[in-house]
């Protein structure tokens, strides 16, 4: 699936809920299914700063796509769900597609104040970091 197909799929899933709290509950439940990130990858280098909660992101090139790993500290369940959604959309995609992705699903799923918490929670920085990986790996492949 392309990045946009995955985004459309998520939008459809969230359309099932009217209430913001139900959407948040769904995000929390998604977070519980996030594949574990190796403890050894939870380094200061991989830490996304500027958060109230601790959040990490790591990436590796697998063939011609990037695979992302992420996690939050265990109690930060909303952050973990949001990381999980971002990884679902951007992981296993081509570097240039990641770098150029327009993440329209975030406002469309009506995450409302979660977007603010993205800022407080450093999720905006996380998106930026994912795109930076995309740019770095595209640049490498051009060389």
């Amino acid at each position: 699936m392309t990045i946009n197909e995955k985004q459309d799929e998520i939008i459809d899933e969230f359309d099932l809920f009217d209430d913001q709290l139900d959407k948040t509950q769904y995000i929390i439940d998604i977070g519980k299914k996030l594949p574990p990130m190796p403890e050894s990858a939870k380094t200061d280098e991989n830490r996304i700063m500027g958060c109230q909660s601790k959040v990490w992101l790591d990436a590796e090139l697998q063939g011609d796509t990037i695979r992302f790993y992420g996690d939050s500290e265990p109690t930060a369940q909303v952050s973990k769900g949001l990381i999980s959604l971002l990884i679902r959309v951007l992981s296993d995609q081509k570097p240039e597609d990641i770098a150029n992705a327009d993440l329209y699903f975030i406002p469309r799923v009506g995450m409302g104040n979660l977007i603010t918490s993205l800022r407080a929670g450093g999720l905006a920085s996380m998106i930026e970091r994912m795109k930076a990986y995309g740019r770095a790996y595209s640049a490498n492949s051009v060389q």
Binding site: Q20, T24, Q52, Q77, V78, S79, N113, S117
Partner: protein
């Protein structure tokens, strides 16, 4: 804890004075519990701002036209209102600032740089806001002074025996918070001041939180400096007051150079204006200063004692209700508190708590509340904080309790 006096205020009527409160957030009526960060503004304050801009906006003090005179009169009337609000002996002892932070920086620079020297000691407490830590650290770095800290006990009270042990001939300045923004603790500042004076030190009291919740009498306290921010007591943002005793203010160097603070300027030498103008360089924040009188008058109409009694009742009720929630731990159980309840919950990050309470229309603050050393003291990264003002109700506390239970259920 203190005993609450039955409040005589009509809270529903008071709520009508605050236009912002009548709104829905995420389809639920707003519950505003972030009052320690900033309070909402009554209609009288909003009207004072618009009346100024619509009716008599002009630069103050040296204008000879009608509007300038009117603006100057309103500006100076606010100074008198603040003099009375803090019970200062003289109007000249009220200096307008941009807020508490600005007032502390003014004292650190204008008093500290003039009178503190290498080896002199400054005492602060372990529950200070960063704004009452960093300016002193900067001063210590520049002047070679030493910063000492009064520790905080498990309940959130200052350990006064330790304070006694810190005081010495080297102590030149003590700067402590009157009421903690993170814990709600009301510190025994009168005793702290007496002891500092006995050791020959001057004392600054950070009144950012206390000014809205407790009657403040700078003369009864014998405070040398007292700083506060208008936006914490229903007034506008970007406006605050530094109270200082006349003799100290007169001995201090100016803080900023510019217009207003001078008597005569030549290229060879400038002489400075008298207090308070010596510390008010440049065009001040006239509109917000003018509007602060409306805030002070509003508090006066309700009476500070009645506001304090109402908030105390809310504090007791919230403490009792929140204590019944499994896994919830209140941080800060001092003997005397203002209406601040900070808490942590097993297995739930404060950020998630804040986000999901907001989705239920409840505004709280989460994080370290600009008191990182205090969070370290309690071994936590942050708390969720509900802080009350005169317009809050027990029904709203019930909403908070339900909201927390909902968050708990969602995280299971």
């Amino acid at each position: 804890m203190q005993t609450a006096i039955a409040p005589s205020l009509d809270i529903q009527q008071i709520r009508q004075d605050f236009p912002i409160l009548d709104q829905q957030i995420n389809n639920r009526p707003l519950v505003y519990f972030d009052n320690a960060a900033t309070t909402q503004k009554p209609r009288a304050v909003i009207d004072a701002l618009t009346n100024y801009y619509e009716g008599y906006n002009a630069n103050i003090h040296r204008g000879i036209h009608h509007l300038a005179e009117q603006a100057t009169a309103a500006f100076e009337a606010s100074r008198r209102a603040m003099q009375s609000f803090l019970n200062a002996a003289h109007w000249q002892e009220i200096i307008f600032t941009y807020g508490t932070t600005d007032g502390i920086n003014l004292v650190a620079q204008a008093y500290g740089r003039r009178f503190l020297n290498a080896g002199d000691e400054i005492i602060i407490s372990g529950m200070e806001h960063h704004s009452n830590i960093v300016p002193w650290q900067m001063l210590c770095e520049e002047r070679g002074c030493v910063l000492k800290v009064i520790p905080v006990d498990e309940q959130g009270d200052l350990i006064l025996d330790e304070y006694d042990a810190l005081l010495s001939e080297q102590t030149k300045l003590v700067s402590v918070v009157h009421a903690s923004n993170s814990l709600g603790t009301v510190n025994p500042v009168k005793t702290i001041i007496e002891k500092a004076h006995a050791a020959g030190a001057v004392v600054l009291i950070d009144g950012a939180q206390s000014s809205s919740h407790l009657p403040v009498d700078v003369q009864a306290l014998d405070a040398d400096f007292f700083v506060c921010s208008a936006h914490k007591f229903y007034g506008p943002t970007g406006m605050g007051v530094l109270y200082g005793k006349t003799a100290l203010l007169e001995a201090m160097s100016p803080y900023r150079g510019g217009g207003e603070m001078i008597r005569e300027v030549t290229f060879e030498k400038t002489t400075y204006n008298d207090i308070p103008y010596k510390f008010e360089a440049g065009t001040p924040n006239i509109a917000d200063v003018v509007a602060v009188k409306a805030a002070v008058d509003y508090i006066g109409q309700l009476s500070k004692e009645a506001i304090a009694a109402h908030e105390l009742e809310l504090l007791h009720y919230a403490t009792e209700q929140l204590s019944e929630i499994d896994g919830l731990r209140i941080i800060g159980q001092a003997k005397e508190k203002i209406g601040v309840v900070s808490f942590v919950m097993d297995g739930i990050h404060h950020q998630d708590m804040g986000v999901i309470l907001d989705q239920q229309g409840i505004a709280v603050r989460t994080g370290h509340h600009c008191t990182m050393p205090l969070m370290h003291r309690f071994g936590i990264a942050g708390t969720t904080r509900a802080s009350f003002a005169v317009y809050n109700t027990k029904d709203e506390i019930d909403r908070l309790v339900q909201g927390i239970r909902r968050v708990q259920k969602m995280m299971l």
